[in-house]
Each structure stands twice: as C-alpha cells, then as structure tokens.
C-alpha cells in the first residue's frame, strides 16, 4: 500500500530544497529570456514563408513553445544532482531509514522533482501562452496534465541515472551530453520534416518530442504538432511508468547506504 500522505511529504521536502538553487534559478530565467527575446526573434526573421508554414505559420511561436519544454526538462533533472549532494552529507542514508517505503520515496521524489520545476517554469509558460494566444482551454488543460506526468518521468529518469552511476562527475558530464542530444534529436527546436531520416527515427520516439508536440497542441498550434495527442499522452505515460519502475527497482534491490559513493 502506498500512502499518498507520505508521498506528498517526500515531495514537499524536495520542493522546499529547490529554493537553495537561487543563483541557478535566476540564471536560468535570464537564459530563457535571451532565448526568446534574442534568438527566437532573430531566427524567426530569417525564415521564408514556406518554412513558416511548415511550423504552423510562425516559427517564433513554435520555438517559444519548444523552449518551454527544454526548460522543463533541464530544470527537472536537478533532482539527480540533489541526490549527489545528499550522498555527500549522508542524507541518503537518513532517507532510507525513515518510515517511508522505497516506492513512496521514489514516487515522492519524482513528483517533487517534477512539480518544483513545473512551478518554476510556470510563469514562463504563462508568458509564452500569452504570446501565442490560447484558443481552447480544455485542450490546454489536458496538455498541461500530461506535461505534469512528463516532468515526473524526467525526474524518475534523473534519479535512476544518479543512483546507478554513483560518481557525480560522470553524472554531470553525462547529463550535459544527454541534454544536448535529447533536445536536438527532438521537435523542440525544429520540425521533424527538416531532419535527415535517421534523426527523424530517434526524434519520433523521444519523450521531448511528445512533450513539445503536446504543448503546442494544447496551446492551439495544432498544425505544428505532428504526433497525434493521444499517442503523445500515451507515450508520456509509458515514459513515466518506465522510469518510476526503474527508480523503485534500484531503490529496493540495489541502493544501500554506507559505501554508496
């Protein structure tokens, strides 16, 4: 039996811990603004009408929605770094000793890790939605719900990698590489139609593609979203379940205190 109260208690702690990234949070916000106000704006002017129509009429909108998804992704993976910080101070052992099951712990951390990034990116998301101009509120709501699940999945992914890699330097480097690949091999920044076919193959199974297309669909940029919304939602559910399962499996079977590092 999973106690939702316990899950929430764990999540709440991770949300509170997020505030200690003050500097990083400010820098990420500046990064976001520069991506939208500089890069997005300038690149938009470079594209001819045929390109603009391939991205649903306006590359700037397409890009702004994609940037939100990259922000969501890169903020959510912070939870993996937290795990190293905690391992340094032995807090992992403490968390393994409290009356919370490993399932509740992993679920709580995934939810906390996802929710806190959702709260952080929220205002930027609203800003982008305002720029795009939302047409269908119900559609948007459905998309946001799925994006919630997407962030929980990303958090589970980061937790899984963190507890299986066990060296913070390697984790850091790996996360940098994954970040570069997972963003570029998805539809977050450019449409699939312009990719060489091997890239298309990867992009069409990349969770970031599903998340980006779903967000665009929710924001009313339907023609820019290639993946059908139901398929995108389903894929996100699979993604979330898979990494939650891996995370729980590692916590129950493999993770120990003491010689963890």
């Amino acid at each position: 039996m999973i106690s939702l109260k316990k899950v929430w208690t764990v999540a709440e702690r991770d949300i509170r811990m997020f505030l200690r990234y003050k500097f990083l949070l400010i820098m990420r916000a500046i990064w976001f603004v520069s991506q939208i106000a500089l890069f997005g704006l300038v690149v938009n002017r470079m594209f001819r009408p045929d390109v603009q129509s391939a991205v649903g009429g306006n590359y700037f909108n397409y890009y702004a929605a994609g940037i939100i998804i990259t922000m969501l992704y890169s903020t959510t993976v912070f939870i993996g770094y937290d795990i190293y910080e905690e391992a340094d101070h032995g807090v992992i052992e403490y968390l393994l000793s409290v009356p919370v099951s490993r399932k509740e712990l992993v679920l709580g951390r995934s939810i906390g890790g996802g929710l806190r990034s959702f709260l952080y990116v929220g205002p930027m998301m609203l800003f982008v939605l305002y720029l795009i101009g939302v047409s269908n509120v119900l559609q948007l709501f459905a998309a946001l719900l799925s994006l919630f699940l997407f962030t929980f999945g990303v958090a589970g992914f980061s937790i899984t990698l963190a507890v299986s890699i066990k060296s913070s330097d390697r984790f850091d480097i790996l996360m940098g590489v994954i970040d570069a690949l997972i963003v570029r091999l998805s539809t977050t920044l450019y449409p699939i139609a312009y990719m060489p076919s091997p890239y298309q193959g990867i992009a069409s199974i990349n969770p970031l593609t599903f998340a980006a297309d779903l967000f665009r669909w929710g924001a009313g940029l339907e023609s820019a979203a290639l993946v059908p919304p139901m398929l995108a939602v389903l894929s996100i559910v699979v993604f979330f379940s898979m990494f939650t399962f891996f995370g729980i499996f590692l916590h129950e079977r493999k993770l120990e205190g003491g010689g963890w590092q």
Binding site: T9, R13, E86, G257
Partner: protein
C-alpha cells in the same frame, strides 16, 4: 516476552572484509542495550542493517515480528535512528529538519507545533532554530541528530555514539533524556566506544570486537564475572623484563597481568589484601622500584581486556 530485536547470524561483508561476523544478539523490550566496542568493531554497520539502510550479506535480523530482509518497510515503522555522523544538508535549519522528520514519522500539524519547540528547547537549539546548520559546531549538529529520535519517540530508538563531541554537561542531559525515553517504554540500542557511557546508561552491555560479539550481560555481572575480581595498577621506575613478567604471573591468586606499557602493569587477582604484600616483595627482589600502586574495581575495560588481551584504547589504535 519475546525479544524486540533478534539478530540471527547477522553478517556484513564489504568485499573480502567482514565488518560484522555472524552476530547473534537479542534486545529485550524496554531495555537500554549498550553495544560497546572500539572504533571499527562493526557497531555502526550492525545498526545500519537493523534500520534497513544496508542489507545483510548473510543471516538476518527481526525487528519486532518483521524480518529486515523480507519486510523492511514494516521494520522501519518501529525504528528511529540517530546517526553517528549527523545526516544534515548544510542549507537546512534545525526547525526544518525536525519539523519534516516529525511529519514523515506521522505527527500531526498540531502535535508538531508543540513538540518541535519542545525538543529544540530540550537540546538547547531554540535560539538557533532558523539558522542553517552550515555554521554549526560538531556538537550542535549532533544535538540536531539526537533531537530526531526525541521528537519521534520510536518504539525502538537506535542511537550511534549519541554524545560524541558533546561536553560533559550536555552528555548528562542526553543520558537523562534517553533514560526518560526508556522509562516511557521505548527500547534503546546504543552504540558507544565510551566505557563510562556504556556502564552508567545500559541495562545490559554487549561487547563487540572485530565484528564479533564477545559477551552480553548486565554491566555488574560482566565485571563480577571476570576471574581476578580485584585490579591492581602498578607503575614501575623502569621496564619489566619478560622473565620477571612470567614469574609475576606465577604468584598464586594472580589471575592475569596486562602490560599497559613496559613499566605500567594491570594485575588481576583474587584476595588482594593477602596477595599484595607478596607482590611488593616480588618487585623488591627483582630490583624493580614501584612508583605507585592503585587498587580499583574492575571496569568494562577489564572485561574487554579479559576477552581480547587489549584495552579498548589499544584496540582502537590497532
């Protein structure tokens, strides 16, 4: 009543090295059991297996009715642990740490409001409650760690060297708080390498060395049980020779002689009043001038020495 903790061949290996070696030990409900041993004896490793933080390599332990390998989640509901090294994120404050701990242990918002304040006052950290533990001394961090179990009041409290780095007044306060916890019905398993702490606080003491249990009983019984109920400590002007040492051991009623240093001996004997004159006579004959003689009751150190041939301090240095 069945024991509340039962370790059955509990073993932990790190690679080839055996940190805990087929430990069989039972903890009775409502007692303070002191796990005494030098650094590296395997105390912390044992406690971490009981709290399910690490997994046994062999054997198992039962916490209440729950096997730590089979039902770790249930075992943890009975246990609270104060770690040897305080497990605190530096950005956290005592208030946040304890409030969250109380919450995760199931205390309601109302209870927490009262109890977090109460416990912070108990460990004298109320004024520092909102500061980050980053700036805290070792002793202050340790008090935050102890406060976790004081607020939780678990059925089984596991405390690992609770008063290390804490001044003597603070030690007495913590001992009293642990006694109160026991008197309320909690069982306490205490790991320590301090003889005095083990002696005054424990209802029973289990002595560990190199991952193995040597003996477990009430402190008084342990001290009474070692042959040579009287202890005489003798300091000499110069070092004793091996030959003289052998002769000394031959004297009737001398049970054992421990060389703390080559000119400092600890003699275990029976009926000291009669034997002591013979011993002084012996040293005169050997032309070994005696600097001082001190008689004492056996301590837990002597019990440890009886089993290992070393004082705890010596074992610690090994």
């Amino acid at each position: 009543m069945p024991p509340i903790i039962r370790m059955v061949n509990l073993t932990k290996k790190f690679g080839e090295f055996t940190a805990v070696d087929h430990l069989n030990l039972e903890v009775e409900e409502g007692e303070i059991l002191g796990l005494l041993g030098p650094n590296g004896a395997g105390k912390t490793t044992t406690l971490l297996m009981l709290t399910t933080v690490i997994k046994p390599t062999e054997g198992t332990a039962f916490v209440g009715p729950y096997d730590v390998g089979q039902e770790p989640d249930k075992a943890r509901t009975l246990i609270g642990m104060a770690f040897q090294e305080p497990k605190l994120l530096w950005v956290d404050s005592p208030w946040d740490i304890l409030n969250w701990h109380a919450k995760v242990c199931g205390l309601s918002a109302e209870e927490r409001k009262k109890k977090v304040r109460w416990v912070l006052e108990q460990v004298e950290l109320w004024n520092d409650r909102l500061k980050s533990v980053h700036a805290f001394s070792g002793g202050m961090r340790k008090r935050v760690e102890i406060a976790k179990i004081l607020i939780q009041r678990p059925k089984i409290a596991i405390v690992d060297e609770p008063t290390a780095q804490i001044d003597i007044v603070g030690k007495h306060r913590i001992w009293n708080m642990l006694r109160e916890l026991r008197d309320e019905g909690s069982t306490i398993l205490l790991a320590t390498n301090e003889l005095y702490e083990a002696d005054v606080l424990s209802d029973r003491v289990a002595i560990m060395h190199k991952g193995k249990l040597l003996v477990c009983d009430e402190p008084k019984k342990l001290k009474d049980s070692i042959p040579g109920g009287d202890v005489v400590e003798i300091a000499l002007e110069k070092d004793i020779t091996t030959a003289a040492l052998a002769k000394l051991k031959e004297i009737p009623r001398v049970v054992n002689v421990l060389t703390i240093k080559q000119n400092q001996l600890k003699i275990y004997l029976n009926q000291a009043e009669e034997v002591l004159p013979k011993i002084t006579e012996f040293f005169m004959k050997e032309r070994l001038q005696v600097k001082s003689i001190r008689m004492s009751e056996p301590s837990l150190d002597d019990v440890f020495a009886h089993y290992t041939g070393l004082t705890i301090e010596e074992a610690q240095r090994e």
